[in-house]
């Protein structure tokens, strides 16, 4: 029997606007705005708030669809447009500009793909991602994504808990951290496109963070496999941390004893830490983290502690000074 988990931040199906009603509202809003040509232009151009109603996940029909068992987590906020989710990306292997990954990531070749899990585990293994897709039940999870650059999105991911993968390799008692590594490949990620940071991109989590129910290995979004620029074919999603923790196009996961040095911390330790929990009270040295621009909205909104997932994750950091361990 499927177990339905209700979390404080989840939204019952009864509160989701049916697609037909949503589209009708959208048409109505658009018609209203259309009567004022300038304001309509400003709206779609500067904010896009015309479409900001609660949306059901509609497949864009561009990539292979994925079967899911259901939607297990959902935030009560409008989804960010698929177009915005897939054209406004940070993926430095394909360039530093937000539009660069969508333009350059066609060289990635995400299939076939293997993911090695090694280090302090009883059964190190190399998984074929196609096999993982076939053997691992997939769930849809609608999460907020908050970038350290103070913008945010709401994205319907498809994936499975990282804990399920960790269970299959049986971490040893000595394992305390999980280290993640992205692909680096001169043919599939041509050096001429890369922004000047060190590669391969590395991220890390404490083992209890990695095992947390919210921590997802994503293989799709908007009902389809991940577009290359979103980290195809498999990526991490840790919704209560800044986006740079959610490493893309992962090829290796290692269980280790010592805290891994993640790429951004290595590059600029005064600005980026290991934990990178979303925290409106701890500023980035160059900008405030108190407010964020939700992509598609005109005005900034208040940033939520742990990106709104505090009830689920605050306990992980009971004994941690979050100002020191940013």
């Amino acid at each position: 029997m499927p177990v339905h988990r209700r979390s404080p931040w989840s939204l019952p199906d009864s509160e989701v606007t049916p697609p037909a009603l949503f589209r009708a509202r959208r048409r109505f809003l658009k018609a209203g705005a259309g009567s004022l040509a300038l304001s309509a232009g400003l709206a779609s151009g500067l904010g896009g708030w015309v479409g900001a109603a609660r949306a059901a996940v509609e497949r864009p029909g561009k990539l292979a669809p994925l079967e899911v068992t259901g939607t297990t987590h959902r935030v009560d906020e409008a989804l960010t447009d698929y177009e915005a989710v897939t054209t406004y990306n940070n993926f430095y292997e394909f360039g530093a500009g937000k539009e660069d990954p969508a333009e350059n990531a066609h060289t990635l070749k995400p299939r076939p793909w293997t993911l090695s899990v090694d280090g302090l585990v009883a059964r190190p293994r190399t998984f074929d991602v196609a096999d993982l897709l076939a053997t691992q039940p997939l769930e849809e999870r609608i999460y907020r994504l908050r970038c350290v650059e103070a913008w945010s999105m709401v994205i319907p991911w498809i994936g499975f808990p990282l804990a399920a993968l960790l269970d299959r390799v049986e971490p040893l008692g000595s394992a305390r951290y999980v280290r993640f590594e992205s692909l680096i490949d001169d043919e599939r990620m041509p050096p001429r496109n890369r922004a000047p940071i060190s590669y391969p991109y590395v991220e890390g989590l404490r083992l209890d963070e990695a095992r947390h129910d919210l921590t997802l290995l994503a293989v799709g979004l908007y009902g389809e496999v991940l577009p290359n620029q979103s980290g195809a074919p498999i990526r991490l999603v840790v919704p209560w941390k800044y986006g740079f923790k959610s490493i893309k196009s992962v090829v290796r996961i290692s269980l280790v004893e010592d805290r891994p040095l993640n790429t951004w911390q290595a590059l600029q330790p005064s600005e980026y830490g290991f934990y990178a929990n979303v925290n409106p009270e701890v500023d980035h040295p160059r900008w405030s983290q108190a407010r964020e621009r939700r992509i598609g909205e005109f005005f900034r909104r208040e940033t939520l502690m742990f990106n709104g997932y505090g009830e689920a994750v605050a306990d992980l950091y009971r004994d941690l000074d979050l100002t020191k361990w940013y």
């Binding site: 151009g45 896009g48 406004y88 530093a96 937000k98």
Partner: protein, 214 residues
């Protein structure tokens, strides 16, 4: 110089040249506004607008600084007429850049603005640069130049150099990794500053005295 300089073209003194310069300098602004209204700056139009206006402020500032070296290289003295025009348009772009940041990006949210202006080095540098440009713009009308006297006015307007340097640093500090266009601006600025050195020193920089040979 080995090359013979081309003579100054007659049209450079024509009455339509200053208004044409203004119109040309306003094209990027028109394009940005058009893109903002039609959705071409999707998906983060406010950020794109703020950055676009900042980029064009720096480009026009560099263009303003290029007038004097261009005059020295070509001997076309009437180029100087355009310097004030382009400088004032630069200031107009700077005003729009600041307004877009204060009004659109932060929506006049005073606590954030106050924290930015007091705590963030790159914003402080940008504001100092902006304040200098404001002083230079305010002292640009001919009547003010006359009241200040040519020498004092020239000394005051040398502040354009720190304004440009601070502007380029402001841009470079905002970037998360790498140099990109901020690096290009820095190289162009350095070149424009070197080209202003008095002739003997300039010859020293490029090696060899009194000529371009070697």
């Amino acid at each position: 110089m080995v090359l013979k300089r081309p003579p100054e073209p007659k049209w450079l003194g024509a009455r339509w040249v200053p208004p044409a310069t203004v119109a040309l300098c306003l094209v990027p602004l028109a394009v940005l506004i058009g893109q903002a209204l039609t959705g071409a700056l999707f998906p983060n139009p406010i950020e794109a607008l703020v950055r676009g206006l900042g980029d064009w402020t720096l480009r026009l500032l560099l263009l303003t600084l290029a007038i004097t070296p261009a005059r020295r290289l070509t001997g076309w003295t009437r180029l100087v007429r355009l310097r004030r025009t382009i400088g004032l348009i630069t200031f107009a772009y700077a005003v729009l850049h600041v307004l877009a940041y204060v009004g659109l990006d932060q929506a006049f949210h005073l606590p954030t603005l106050w924290a930015d202006i007091t705590k963030r080095a790159f914003i402080i540098l940008g504001m100092v640069s902006f304040a200098i440009l404001a002083v230079l713009a305010a002292t640009s009308p001919k009547a003010v130049v006359r009241r200040l006297g040519g020498r004092r006015w020239r000394r005051l307007h040398r502040l354009i150099y720190p304004a440009a340097i601070l502007g380029v640093i402001h841009h470079a500090m905002m970037v998360r990794a790498g140099w990109g266009t901020a690096g290009e601006h820095a190289v162009i600025l350095a070149l424009l500053l070197v080209l202003r050195l008095p002739k003997p020193r300039l010859a020293g920089v490029f090696g060899g005295r009194g000529g371009a040979e070697g």
